[in-house]
């Protein structure tokens, strides 16, 4: 592929914007010649940051947007009313074909709403799920959906399974990834009405490698590559995962610093511990994509530093290289889908 991958980046989104966003964009352009970045936001602030670097001006461009959507703003109102905000303007660039993809560390709500309202879903895609990679004992799993669809239907979950499978296969280069349904027991008859209705649909779906239900405690062992759920349970599982990890690390740290003997032990295990924990660093995979849209929307976490922004931009190259959206259209048989009748 020699065609440039044009990424509209929300330069004002995130706790460390625009400093870390600009730095990440510069690093992405340096690392991959295919990257062309549009830094969308308040140009005076962006230019102050850009002045710190030497870079290819043809591959990093500034698009002025005077407004900023704050984290606490009501997403729908913000998207509708702040037309000159970095999020809205950058998303319109994707909608109008001026950019292939979009990256933001800004408000999750505004990004989810904007993805659907501005970029829009691929025809026939019923809902667009947010699908972050989470670290596991065996590598990473894709948890789909952790986004806005808290009241999903079984047909949505089937589409999530197919889209998640395509995305995992493309990004992780693993053929026929395993797909599981998040439930409260592994047996087919366990779960709420939605899970029970979805199970047979996934079991009989020829496009995916369905392995059955999975319980939350098995997520971290890496039992399945793709874990399908609606966003309500998905988001709870994700936040629980993050919370437990944080608590474990702080408790461990406290224990290791509790006495002189413990501190000596800590010094001895530090290199091995550091090496082990590297496997749990998922920054290299970029942010969470919102799948099923007419273009790629990547949401990276609010405290993203340059490395996460860089990897999120590079993730857009992989997405385009592997024609993920074409594959989604193909597998969901959407080429001619227009009306159900």
């Amino acid at each position: 592929m020699t065609e440039k991958v044009r990424v509209a980046v929300d330069a004002m989104g995130g706790d460390l914007a625009p400093t870390e966003v600009v730095k990440g964009a510069i690093e992405a352009a340096k690392e991959n010649d295919l990257v062309k970045v549009f830094l969308v936001g308040q140009e005076d602030k962006i230019n102050v940051e850009l002045a710190k670097y030497e870079y290819d001006h043809e591959r990093i461009e500034v698009v002025n947007a005077t407004e900023v959507i704050e984290m606490a703003e009501a997403p729908v109102l913000a998207i509708r009313n702040k037309k000159d905000s970095s999020i809205v303007k950058a998303m319109y660039m994707v909608k109008h074909g001026e950019a292939d993809a979009y990256v933001s560390a800004g408000s999750t709500g505004a990004n989810l709403v904007g993805g659907q309202l501005i970029v829009g879903r691929i025809k026939g895609v019923e809902r667009a799920p947010l699908a972050p990679f989470i670290p596991t004992e065996k590598g990473v799993s894709l948890l789909i959906d952790c986004g806005a669809n808290v009241d999903a239907r079984s047909s949505h979950l089937v589409q999530f399974a197919k889209m998640g499978s395509i995305y995992y296969e493309s990004v992780m280069q693993k053929r026929n990834p395993t797909v599981a349904l998040l439930s409260i027991g592994v047996e087919e008859d366990k779960g709420n009405a939605l899970v029970k209705e979805t199970y047979p649909l996934l079991k009989n779906c020829p496009d995916i490698n369905f392995i059955g239900n999975i319980e939350a405690r098995d997520i971290s062992s890496g039992v399945a590559d793709v874990i399908v759920t609606e966003a309500f349970a998905g988001n709870i599982a994700l936040k629980m995962y993050e919370g437990v990890a944080k608590t474990m690390f702080s408790t461990l740290k406290k224990g290791l610093l509790s006495s002189t003997r413990a501190k000596i032990g800590a010094l001895l295990i530090k290199p091995a511990l550091k090496e082990t924990l590297k496997d749990f660093n998922i920054d290299k995979y970029g942010g969470a994509p919102m799948l099923g849209l007419n273009g790629l929307v990547v949401k990276t976490h609010g405290s993203s530093k340059a490395v996460e922004i860089k990897n999120s931009i590079l993730q857009c190259v992989v997405f385009k290289e592997h024609n993920v959206n074409d594959k989604i259209r193909e597998v969901l048989n959407l080429q001619d889908a227009h009306v159900k009748a």
Binding site: V76, Q116, L117, G124, A148, D151, K340, A341
Partner: protein, 76 residues
């Protein structure tokens, strides 16, 4: 004209049969839309007609007919 354009957008966003869409068709109950779908359709209408529909009234829309009435009201 408003109804036709609205129908086109509904079909586009919700992937439904245009024959299913009548004045009294409910976006959520009959067409399976969610609140974001309704906003997506409304924003399409706003772009098409170059108008801005008031938020408080958008939130009260439940049927296709109510949407048409609101568009006409703002257009006038």
């Amino acid at each position: 004209m408003e109804l036709e354009k609205l129908k086109e957008l509904i079909v586009d966003v919700l992937n439904v049969d245009p024959n299913e869409i009548k004045d009294d068709t409910k976006f959520i109950d009959d067409l399976g839309a969610d609140s974001l779908d309704v906003y997506q359709i409304i924003m399409g209408i706003e772009d098409e007609f170059g108008i801005k529909l008031p938020e408080d009234k958008i939130e009260k829309i439940t049927t296709v007919g109510e949407a048409v009435e609101l568009i006409k009201e703002v257009n006038d």
